[in-house]
């Protein structure tokens, strides 16, 4: 029968993608779990031995872990706060009648398309350099002392750069959501004498609740594993001040070659990401039915 044939074909077409993704998910994860139970250092080959949960104990009680967990949370929280708090008014502004809107949109969205290594280096040098950077010069114009960004406030500097990269993303999604807001609803509210502020609070903001949630979840997934920006600007320093979980695992794996401990750390990162992913998948799944 034709339908049976179709179904068989459909399954055949789906199989390669499912098989590949399954292998991609399961093999490295299984290996990570396996390595996490070994004493395994690449500098000390042949000494691999089973140590049970020792690596987890080592990784989780390492002061560097607590410091990097804190940095990760501060970084994710700050970038989320900055991009949402600035993104909402920016999206509202771009939703107004603006002459040359398409050009303004292009300028606003541009940072998102700049590769992370470029934005990090341009900000670190051309803008934030304590002597020759543009910010230092502006501070000088106002008679203020120049800030040595990456020494005095290293984590904040990284946060600033990453916020610049993600603000366009938040704005674009919020703007897309705003444009689907029923114009008549707002008009009706205005006719009934609602002020701009109450229109915003009672109509616009509830409408934005869902896109804001989506922005928070998606940004969190990417921000939990920020790497390139830290790699090219601070290398995790000074000290551990800009080391996040991702960078800590990288340095244990590829600088200290401690496979066991890095794997244990990797699993901690997987668990953290999964907590966020759980909520995101539920929201997307609900939308799939609608």
């Amino acid at each position: 029968m034709a339908t049976q044939q179709t179904q068989l074909l459909a399954r055949t077409l789906l199989t390669p993608a499912v098989a590949l993704l399954f292998i991609w998910m399961i093999v490295p994860l299984a290996l990570t779990i396996y390595f996490a139970t070994l004493h395994y250092n690449l500098l000390d080959p042949g000494s691999e031995s089973f140590v049970g949960l020792e690596n987890f104990r080592y990784f989780l009680t390492d002061p560097a872990f607590l410091a990097s967990l804190q940095n990760t949370l501060v970084l994710v929280g700050s970038v989320l706060a900055i991009t949402i708090i600035l993104g909402v008014p920016l999206a509202l502004l771009l939703d107004q009648q603006v002459v040359g809107l398409s050009i303004v949109r292009l300028m606003v969205i541009a940072p998102f398309f700049v590769m992370p290594t470029v934005s990090a280096l341009v900000w670190k040098n051309l803008l934030m350099h304590p002597v020759s950077g543009l910010f230092a010069w502006i501070a000088h114009l106002f008679g203020l002392p120049a800030i040595d960004w990456f020494n005095d406030a290293p984590l904040f500097s990284v946060i600033l750069i990453i916020s610049w990269q993600w603000l366009p993303f938040a704005t674009l999604i919020l703007l897309t959501a705003l444009q689907s807001l029923d114009e008549e609803q707002k008009e009706a509210a205005e006719m009934d004498g609602a002020s701009a502020i109450s229109t915003f609070i009672y109509i616009t903001l509830p409408h934005l609740a869902r896109p804001i949630t989506v922005v928070i979840l998606i940004e969190t997934i990417f921000l939990l594993t920020v790497f390139a920006e830290i790699f090219v600007t601070t290398g995790g320093g000074p000290g551990l001040q800009t080391t996040n979980i991702a960078f800590l695992i990288y340095s244990q794996a590829l600088i200290q070659y401690d496979v066991g401990s890095a794997s244990a750390g990797g699993l901690v990162a997987v668990v953290l990401a999964n907590i966020v992913a759980f909520f995101l998948v539920r929201i997307v799944g609900r939308n799939l039915e609608a």
Binding site: L14, L20, M107, F113, V232
Partner: protein
Amino acid sequence: MARMVTTQRKVISTAAAWLVGFLIFFPILWMVLASFKTELEAFAIPPSFLFFHWTTENYVTVQERSDYFHHALNSIIIAGGSTLIAMLIAIPAAWSMAFSPTKRTKDVLLWMLSTKMMPPVGVLVPIYLIFRNFGLLDTRSGLIFILCLGNLPIVIWMLFTYFKEIPKDILEAARMDGATIGRELIYVLTPMAVPGLASTMLLNLILAWNEAFWTLNLSTLEAAPLTVFIASYSSPEGLFWAKLSAASTLAIAPILVLGWFSQRQLVRGLTFGAVK
């Protein structure tokens, strides 16, 4: 009907929007300007905004001293290759789920999405060791493979949402006229799907071009794409601002152009259809 907007309000929002847009875009503009300065002027305080000695010398030096085109070619091959392969795997899968959905289709889709949630750093160790043991470190094929798998869920999802929008009646009509599935795929579906295919490819190209976790960790020189090439400017002895700017401008220019064309698809692709 659009709401009546007073001229005054329009002037204010226009001025505000242009000011904010300019501020956000400024770092990129500043970088492009610096790429046309001499090293001395790029470093100078007070900085010169437009009235400096314009030169294209940096663009020449970047190629001569560090073989820019070698890395640009790597970027093109890696981003293009991983995108093409991902499309080849994703098109049949998305087609199958959009047009012959089963009870489990939703679960399969959500499961695919969840593989994208896996933080790359969680599997850095095994991937690095596998690459080392199979001689894949610093090879283009290794990077193509890994970026293809990393973006596959997004590609399948985007294609799925586009295919979903193609009316099923058309397929049924074609079937009634006796079209085989192969013909249906080539003559009916493909023309209707071209816009969706194009924007999916575009977004995937952008993501692969800018990918900076696997490229930084798995390549050093031979296969290094532009992300890694630019990162080499971070060493203190390599601090040449004008040359860094020239290399950066070249590295982001093609993707900025592509990106501007794909703004709308970006939202769909990165939110997995949760915001339209």
